[in-house]
């Protein structure tokens, strides 16, 4: 077996870097879309909105029971056909791999974030709601200023954990021929035959990013454990 040659990594770095940036951008976009939609979904369920509540519950149950890779396929192949039918001329309207990835990841993560926030909403003490009522705060201000900030604080470690998983899952975009960090490494590895070095380095980058985020989770946990120690 040849000895390891990491000089190849230095040459490959710009390409790997662009892959990493794509992974991070996808993570960030899916996080933002997922959190906004997830919060809405959680509130719809929390308020037991008649029809919407059931639809959201069904959506979450569906999304959570199928693999992400399948959702990506669906989106990539089915949505253009559906759009084609809707537009009337019957021809598929391609939405492109990048858009597919951003939308799919956002919608997929929304289901998971929604569950986290829904549980968080249930964990808020009833007294908090009563205090808001007694102060005549509107429902909007109650949730915007009092309830949701507390939910996000309590749930932030779990939300961050879920986001770390999301970051790792972005590697699945290879099925759409998009080049994320892992995709970049694997293409280069096949070109130059340095599989071991490339995969080792990529693993280290994933490890670095994920453990940095885990450190954040740990310190958040500690902070809120202390803040929650009253009474």
């Amino acid at each position: 077996m040849n000895s390891l040659d990491f000089s190849i990594v230095a040459q490959a770095w710009p390409y790997l870097w662009s892959g990493l940036l794509f992974s991070l951008a996808l993570t960030a976009a899916a996080f933002v879309i997922g959190m906004i939609l997830g919060t809405l979904f959680a509130l719809v369920q929390h308020f037991e909105v008649p029809v919407a509540g059931r639809l959201v519950r069904a959506y979450i149950a569906l999304i959570r029971s199928i693999p992400l890779i399948l959702v990506l396929f669906w989106f990539f192949f089915l949505v253009p056909i559906v759009l084609g039918h809707l537009s009337g001329n019957g021809r598929p309207v391609p939405i492109g791999a990048t858009w597919t990835a951003f939308i799919t990841f956002g919608l997929f993560e929304a289901a998971y974030y929604s569950e986290i926030i829904r549980v968080g909403l249930r964990a808020v003490n009833r007294g908090q709601f009563e205090a808001c009522q007694a102060l005549a705060l509107s429902t909007f201000h109650t949730y915007r200023c009092v309830i949701l900030p507390q939910v996000l604080r309590v749930a932030s470690p779990i939300i961050l954990s879920q986001t770390i998983i999301l970051f790792q899952d972005t590697s699945l975009v290879y099925v759409l021929s998009l080049t994320d960090l892992l995709g970049a490494a694997s293409k280069l590895a096949q070109l130059n035959g340095r599989l071991v070095e490339m995969y080792l380095v990529v693993a280290l980058v994933y490890l670095g990013v994920s453990s940095a985020a885990s450190q954040c989770v740990a310190s958040l946990r500690k902070r809120y454990a202390m803040a929650g120690a009253h009474r």
Partner: protein, 256 residues
Amino acid sequence: MFQETAVNVTSRSSAIVAVENLVKRFGQFTALNDINLTVAAGEKIVLCGPSGSGKSTLIRCINHIEKHDGGRIVVTGVELTDRMTDINSVRREVGMVFQSFNLFPHLSIVENCMLAPMKVRGLSREEAHERAMGVLRQVRIHDQAGKYPGQLSGGQQQRVAIARALCMQPKIMLFDEPTSALDPEMVKEVLDTMIGLARGGMTMICVTHEMGFAREVADRVVFMDRGTIVEEADPETFFRAARTERAKGFLQQIIH
């Protein structure tokens, strides 16, 4: 049952709270049965009675945290119905202090006091801050304004809760067992704050077993048992010569 014909407020004009034939049920259980209570502006009422007698439920009906099932509640001239505008116009004038403080843990002390005046009364941040600091000074806790609820003792937290309610400049204050969750050495600071408030002329309805407080500030003691008002008297008469056996039995128990 609501009486559709009783549109006119029949209570005395000086009454700031008028409760007529109030009924509240929790499923099969009748928590309040035919309660009649009139509170004049500036009056201090102490509600007492054994646990489960309905006294907390009664004051929670007055600001519609519990929805009543029958009878009428008129607060500052507004009858409480299902309409949110009525409910909120009553709640704006009625401050409430809870047994478990219910401060907002993610907001600092001064922010706890600023939130509702800004969002409900429409005060600017500066105005709300100025008002909050004034009231916090009044309850002698302004030096803790930047801290968070979790960093304060129970007694301090309860004084902040009183301040938070006062920042809305309510006409009536409701107290739901404000000292029951406190360590004994912290009860006094909260009671002193409440006594100060009473001396300032605030209309107060207090659910409490602090009989010393009742003697000192109450105009009337209302004794409840099993969802009804059993006896009403001025504190001296009530403590010295309660008329009903139930009240006598209750007094004997809390003295021991």
